[in-house]
């Protein structure tokens, strides 16, 4: 038995210890590299050599270098990353949206309140041009604030689009790198050993990718990794990567949508199928919260401009000749939009065959919602209208029907498969404009004036005279004469030359207007305080021109709007409206709505961030490098190296002993 087996055993042991130290040093070197997995040399006892005296060990072999890696934990971590990135993106954007719904003096609610309150001042000094100027300035301020809110929303939308584009560019870079790594990994597969560092790199890229878009992965037999999005659409297959593209939304070109480019053909990816990632967070925000925010603001703008215009046009302004210049609306708002889907049928010239027009008929019944209109799938010839709220509300309508204060006209019908996105209020705030410049244009005066006769014996006095429409007979005078002590009255309407135009009777009850229905006499509703007695007379005559500059009848009606629930009334099938909120309440609840969203998005984001942290920690507990551990291993390996060297030294001295013996 010679010294050479001992020599080779020592050599092998030294080399194993050296390789172990090399790996440990590699671990130490990469301790701070993201995605690095701790590596280990796999040692195996060499097969023993049989002799008559039994098996003698032949030392140690290094069979492989492996990485500490847990497929399951890694996958869990990427999914948690996707969720967390989505929630964070959503929460960030909602924070921006919240800036549009400011509290207190910088909010839209305050502006609406100030504007409506300015009519109280107008009522106090209807003839004062400085007061009139103040009202116009408040109207201008209101319009500006709504415009700037709409502008902020546009900026947020532009930011979302920009972010989507840059994110998609990054995603495309990542998928390309994964495809390249796939190629490299497949190439070294034949060597029989795992390319640990390449695998780490690829896992790290997938982890990064999943921050932007949630992916599922599937490893193929050749070692390449397939990467899929949105439930099975392939992003990376072998060494090929598909491109994601940001394009215009099919239904609404003002929004962006995510598309997958398949050989030049772009297919929209449904955002709800994305699952997670910051792209999903951005798209959900864009298609949900941002649309809702825009609609909420648009609804308020439409309603406040609508009711003020209505009342303003019922009054009389101070333009010359007094009392004969029709009052003009105070505001104009952005028009309702009906947007054809880009897939709708077109003629040879590329123009859409069908069209839809929207008209706001009752600004108080307009809802903060968008709608989708398509032909009734059942083929009834009617149209299916879906309110895009949660949950969606679907109903069948005909052309010309009024739904939620908006009339829908479909002049040419719809082609099969056509659909329209209806946005009655989305542009309202951006297009809100204060139209009047001349203080005299404000219609503070009422066209009619009610006076009680000097000879009345009852206590009845005029409490208010409200115009519900323009006077039905211009220049006509109505006289209401009470014919009993219990409120029975007869009335007649006479023109300027005393001809009786119409007459009738009615019964007054405390708290009820005269007449019961404004169109019965001359478009007014008269409220009395006190009690009229038999023979008492109330005259409702056109306001004389010399009284117009100091009459405040219409300003009073405008001032009552601060307590009128004119926003978001409910319109039933027969067109009756009820409910609604005052400007203050509507704004307060819109603000609280957005506030609640921000709050819950923040808490979702912090929860999913914690989950993601935990998953990352669990992965790194398996894969990460602990420097203390490596230090300990280094000492251990250094000692084995020293021991192995000792074996070699012993073998060498044995050999020398043997030489001396033979030569000596």
């Amino acid at each position: 038995m010679g010294a050479s087996p001992l020599m080779s055993l020592g050599m092998k042991a030294m080399s194993a210890a050296y390789m172990a130290m090399q790996t440990t040093s590699h671990n130490i070197a990469n301790a701070n590299v993201a995605g690095y997995s701790r590596q280990d040399v796999v040692l195996e006892t060499a097969k023993g050599q049989f002799t008559g005296a039994g098996f003698f060990g032949k030392g140690v072999d290094v069979t492989s270098v492996t990485r500490a890696h847990d497929q399951f934990l890694t996958r869990a971590a990427t999914i948690a990353t996707s969720q967390s990135a989505m929630d964070a993106a959503h929460s960030d954007r909602l924070g921006q949206l919240e800036q549009v719904f400011q509290t207190g003096e910088s909010g839209l609610g305050y502006s609406m309140g100030q504007f409506l309150n300015s009519f109280v001042d107008l009522a106090s000094r209807p003839g004062d041009s400085a007061t009139r100027q103040t009202v116009l300035a408040q109207a201008q301020d209101l319009a500006t604030r709504f415009n700037s809110a709409a502008g902020q929303l546009d900026t947020i939308q532009a930011g979302v689009t920009e972010d989507l584009k840059s994110t998609v560019t990054t995603v495309n870079g990542l998928t390309q790198s994964i495809a390249t790594l796939n190629q490299q990994i497949a190439a070294v597969r034949g060597l029989g050993q795992p390319p640990n560092d390449l695998l780490d790199q690829r896992d790290q890229l997938v982890s990064k990718l999943s921050g932007y878009v949630q992916v599922s992965t599937l490893e193929a037999d050749d070692g390449t990794l397939g990467v899929f999005v949105a439930g099975g659409q392939s992003l990376v297959l072998g060494s090929n990567a598909s491109q994601l593209v940001v394009g215009l939304d099919v239904d609404d070109p003002s929004r962006s949508s995510l598309m997958l480019d398949e050989n030049g053909k772009q297919r929209t990816i449904d955002p709800s199928a994305l699952g997670g990632g910051s792209i999903a967070g951005l798209l959900n925000f864009q298609n949900g919260d941002l649309v809702d925010g825009r609609n909420l603001i648009g609804q308020m703008a439409t309603a406040v401009a609508g009711v003020v215009n209505q009342q303003q046009m019922l009054g009389v302004n101070l333009q010359q000749p007094l009392g004969s210049v029709a009052s003009q609306p105070l505001f104009s708002v952005g028009t309702p939009q009906a947007i054809p889907a880009s897939t709708n049928a077109k003629d040879a010239g590329g123009n859409y065959l069908s069209s839809v027009t929207l008209t706001v008929t009752d600004p108080t019944a307009v809802q903060a919602a968008s709608y989708e209109l398509r032909a009734d799938p059942a083929g009834s010839g009617q149209y299916q209208l879906t309110r895009l709220s949660s949950p969606p509300v679907t109903q069948l309508v005909n052309s010309g029907d009024v739904v939620d204060g908006v009339r829908i006209d479909v002049p040419n019908g719809l082609q099969p498969g056509d659909r329209f996105l209806l946005k009655p209020v989305a542009q309202a705030a951006g297009g809100l404009t204060a139209l009047l410049q001349d203080p005299r244009d404000l219609a503070a005066a009422s066209p009619l004036i009610a006076t009680t006769s000097a000879s009345n014996t009852g206590t009845a006095a005029v409490d208010s005279l409200t115009m519900l429409s323009q006077p039905l007979q211009a220049g006509a005078t109505a006289q209401v004469s009470f014919t009993s002590d219990s409120g029975d009255y007869s009335w007649q309407l006479t023109d300027a030359s005393g001809n009786v135009l119409s007459s009738g009777t009615g019964t007054w009850q405390a708290g009820q207007p005269i007449p019961a229905n404004a169109s019965d006499i001359n478009g007014f509703a008269l409220q009395l305080s006190g009690v009229p007695r038999n023979g008492d007379v109330v005259t409702i005559a056109p306001t004389p021109p010399e009284a117009l500059s100091t009459n405040n009848g219409n300003a009073l009606a405008l001032a009552t709007l601060r307590d009128v629930t004119f926003i978001g009334r409910t319109m039933d099938a027969s067109g009756n409206v009820s409910g609604g909120a005052t400007a203050t309440d509507a704004y307060a609840s819109a603000m609280a709505d957005i506030g609640v969203r921000v709050q819950s998005a923040k808490s979702s984001a912090s929860i999913s961030a914690a989950v993601s942290d935990q998953a990352t920690q669990a992965t790194s507990a398996v894969s990460g490098v602990n420097l203390d551990e490596e230090a300990a291993r280094l000492i251990q390996q250094q000692q084995s190296y020293q021991a192995a060297a000792k074996v070699l030294q012993v073998a060498q001295s044995l050999f020398e002993t043997l030489l001396q013996t033979t030569t000596g």
């Binding site: 301790a31 919240e98 719904f101 509290t103 207190g104 609610g109 305050y110 309140g113 100030q114 309150n117 300015s118 109280v120 001042d121 106090s124 000094r125 209807p126 004062d128 004036i449 009610a450 006076t451 009680t452 000097a454 000879s455 006095a461 005029v462 409490d463 306001t543 004389p544 010399e546 009284a547 117009l548 100091t550 009459n551 405040n552 009073l556 009552t560 203050t584 307060a588 603000m591 609280a592 709505d593 957005i594 506030g595 609640v596 969203r597 921000v598 709050q599 942290d613 990352t616 920690q617 669990a618 790194s620 507990a621 990460g624 602990n626 420097l627 203390d628 230090a631 300990a632 000492i635």
Partner: protein, 311 residues
């Protein structure tokens, strides 16, 4: 099996914890310096909505208060104008009583008539007074020109009867019904409400200027003139009383508005302002938390096996 601590992860976690604590501390400081618990709706949506409604109530009571001031301004002036008118009517009454003196000659009566004429013109001036900003106190529901006009047939009313009103928490008048005040006293002989104070004076003046009247006729005219003037004075007095009544109401409405505004301010403050004591203690809590985190970080992260492997 316990989890392995990964060195890089341990650093990352510590750093992110430090950042979180620093952020918490900055937030607490921000709240302390702004004094607001609710800076944006998401801080507390319910409280933010409450504060919003309270703010609207404050604005509304402020607008109401402005309307109230407008009404008070007019009614104070109307009240004082009616006071002046009462004095003038009293002087006129004394002149008319003097005119009944049987020893007065025609020219004595003509002098009295002249004096009466002066009083009457002053009264007309009072009836056409403005609030100083162009609004006629007795303009009723509106007039651009002086509401009382001297015509050959006597003083007529050009305004619209009734009164203008403003919403000031409750409805308050911003003008007085001139026709009812000056022209519609109850006639003591007919019982009808159509007695004009100007007509009464004009009639007496006319009669005093008529020469060669018998003593009993003069006595009769003075008597009926006095009765009519007293009826007019009553009417002016009652108009003054109702103006005073409005001013009283104004005071109590003002008090109610002020109460409503204060309640709204308190509501707003309760909803969105910071409880300072709690906030300060909260801040100190966060501060010591951050401090502890910094200390332990510097202590723990120094520890490493490599330190003990020197040489």
């Amino acid at each position: 099996m316990s989890l392995r601590i990964t060195t890089a992860q341990a650093y990352d976690t510590s750093i992110s914890n430090l950042q979180t604590r620093q952020q918490d501390l900055a937030d607490a400081q921000n709240r302390l310096t702004s004094g607001k618990r609710v800076a944006s709706a998401s801080d507390d949506p319910v409280a933010a909505a409450r504060a919003e409604r309270a703010l609207a109530t404050m604005m509304k009571t402020e607008a109401d208060q402005r309307a109230l001031e407008a009404s008070r301004n007019v009614m104070q002036q109307a009240e004082s104008a009616l006071g002046d008118a009462g004095d003038l009517v009293q002087q006129a009454r004394e002149l008319i009583v003097n005119a009944g003196n049987g020893s007065y000659s025609d020219s004595d009566r003509a002098t009295l008539a002249n004096k009466l004429k002066g009083l009457r013109d002053q009264l007309l001036g009072i009836a056409n007074r403005t609030d100083g900003a162009g609004t006629y106190l007795f303009g009723g529901q509106g007039t651009k020109a002086p509401p009382f006009v001297d015509t050959p047939a006597g003083v007529t009313y050009q305004g619209t009867s009734g009164q203008s009103e403003v919403p000031a928490g409750e409805t308050l008048p911003t003008s007085v019904d001139g026709s009812r005040t000056w022209l519609q006293a109850t006639d003591p002989t007919t019982g009808q409400s159509n007695l004009s104070v100007f007509n009464v004076l004009d009639r007496v003046i006319g009669e005093l200027n008529t020469p060669n009247q018998a003593g009993d006729v003069i006595e009769q005219q003075v008597k009926s003139g006095l009765a009519d003037l007293d009826a007019s004075a009553d009417n002016l007095l009652s108009a003054r009383a109702s103006a005073g009544e409005v001013l009283n109401r104004t005071d109590s409405i003002e008090q109610r508005n002020a109460d409503a505004k204060l309640a709204a301010q308190t509501e707003r403050s309760n909803a969105e302002d910071l409880d300072m004591v709690q906030a300060v203690s909260d801040f100190q809590n966060k501060q010591s938390g951050y401090d502890a985190a910094l200390k332990t970080y510097s202590m723990v992260q120094r520890e490493s096996l490599f330190q003990y492997l020197s040489a």
